[in-house]
Symmetry: none
Subunit: 189 residues, 4 copies
């Protein structure tokens, strides 16, 4: 309260610094010392603002998830029809996500935490829920789930692959996954 009023940016700066350090050195390498130095705040200030490391990580990753979900909201909110939504998805993958090594790293760090600790799993769920809500503006719920998974997979593989991923492939994949499968009539003779 008084403290926040006094240096209201400090918490924010610490959180931003935490994400920077995590992006650069991983959660394993993110110590109080390093984050404090990156943020330009005294070491003792860390445990004053955040009771412990998990609390800081929680807030940092929550912010990270929201920042990416914001982009989903914006891109998909601007689409006016299904084809526009498909295009928005392709753009999200190719323009926003793939260019950012930082986002890839942070995503994996978060997932790794989520795989083990419930607190962080909740963060990923909230993030996924926001993404699906954005997709839900244009697609039915089941398609949303498939599409969300596809985006995830394309994002991950694109970042790990050696060969560049062609936009055409992404366009085709999005088209396929958003197109209901018509089981070929077997009885036709």
């Amino acid at each position: 309260m008084a403290s926040r009023r006094f240096d209201p940016d400090r918490r924010d700066r610490i959180i931003a610094a935490a994400l920077d350090v995590i992006a650069a050195q991983g959660v394993a390498g993110a110590s109080h010392r390093k984050i404090a130095e990156q943020a330009g705040v005294p070491l003792g200030s860390m445990t004053y603002h955040f009771a412990n490391m998990d609390e800081l990580l929680t807030e940092a990753f929550r912010r990270f998830g929201n920042s990416i979900a914001d982009r989903f909201d914006q891109e998909l909110g601007e689409a006016t029809d299904v084809d526009g939504a498909r295009l928005a998805v392709v753009d999200l993958i190719h323009l926003d996500l793939l260019d950012s090594q930082r986002d890839l790293v942070l995503t994996h760090e978060l997932y790794t935490l989520a795989a083990r600790k419930p607190v962080f799993r909740q963060i990923t769920r909230d993030w996924m829920a926001r993404n699906r809500r954005a997709l839900g503006l244009h697609f039915d719920p089941e398609t949303c789930r498939m599409l969300d998974a596809l985006i995830e997979g394309l994002f991950i593989h694109a970042a790990l692959d050696t060969e560049p991923h062609h936009r055409a492939t992404t366009v085709e994949a999005v088209a396929r996954i958003t197109t209901p499968y018509h089981r070929p009539a077997r009885t036709a003779h």
Copy 2:
């Protein structure tokens, strides 16, 4: 003790112990001490067999990737036609992968390393290459890439999601992604 002097399985046991510890506590929690204890070998033995931690992690994750790729090879090798291959993919996701919290955790840990260190990125690439080769027995290269990404995404989301993933959804998603998209004729009226 005669047994102490020569122990040809020791390397293997250390690698297995490393994967166990990583699955349980993460790469961050995988210390020489813990792994040595898990493997039942003295601490000094660790850096005798593996020059440093990265070398041990490298071998461990290489083995992990291969063990999963082996299952891909087996399941898809047994399929005789495209529908069989689709079924195999669904089974791989639902029977083999999703049941294993351990595999999920290890996968994320590996990806997190891969996002930062080239050595581990190569491991994931080799693994992905094996998976795609297995898929390539039944699908064209472009479909392989899409399908591989979908599998990845479904696997990751299934493990993080709260609601159970229904097999039917997976079946539909696989069917869609493996079915070429026919752009609807626009001029037909």
Copy 3:
């Protein structure tokens, strides 16, 4: 414990302890553990006060060099003429330096470091510069360099030799090195 919480002399005590341990066991034997024990501080305190071993060694040897240079300053500052300065030099070698096995050991340890690492070479240079400045009160620059080298050599050899070094020899050596050489006239009748 109040005493534990704030201990302003601690850095100094660690430095003094470091020199003691180095004198007794060499730089090679000077571990954080031993120095901490000698200084009566907890092990973790070492790297709090000194980021790493080199930093501690640097400060310790800087202090050592200065302490000896102080004696040079004092002895030579008191001399009022050249003969007094020569006497002061002899006294420095015989009274101050030779009696101290500790100084010999520390000097060699420093030189050994200096021969390999620039940081320590700078320390020896600063030390040498102070010595020469003190000698420069009474002798010309070239003589200073020669005299400084002679002092160095006498100091080292005296400490390594079996036979005792006689003061008379030192007196003669200092007299010679501070007396310009007159090339014998070759053309004389």
Copy 4:
């Protein structure tokens, strides 16, 4: 005995490797492992040929001292008169010793050991004795001791100094130290 006959170079190679490693990393950094690797012999071979580290170091430094003393013998043995001997000394300092960073490092490492352990002190004494014997071909014993000290000091300082040492200064210093001091007559009117 049989072993030596079998691979007679091995001991020599290990000794040479030891000096290389010491020159590069210091006595402190000279481990069995590194020396074995440098020599191209198996680790277990080290303690087979040398009971312990000190034995190896002893032999290595004995060889080093002899190699330098050999140069003294040769240069001074070729001189035919005092002036020739003075010139030889200057050459030894400027041509042979100063150019070799390696010799400087090894000398200091040896002195550091000698300052603490009698075994190594004996090695330096033997070395010094050889040097003085060589000087003794041309100078009286007292002058030998002074000259030897001067050489030592010039060698050390030259290697540590920033500014280059001029040959002329060395020539003058050698001339001075080898010229008896004539106390100026005080009674002269």
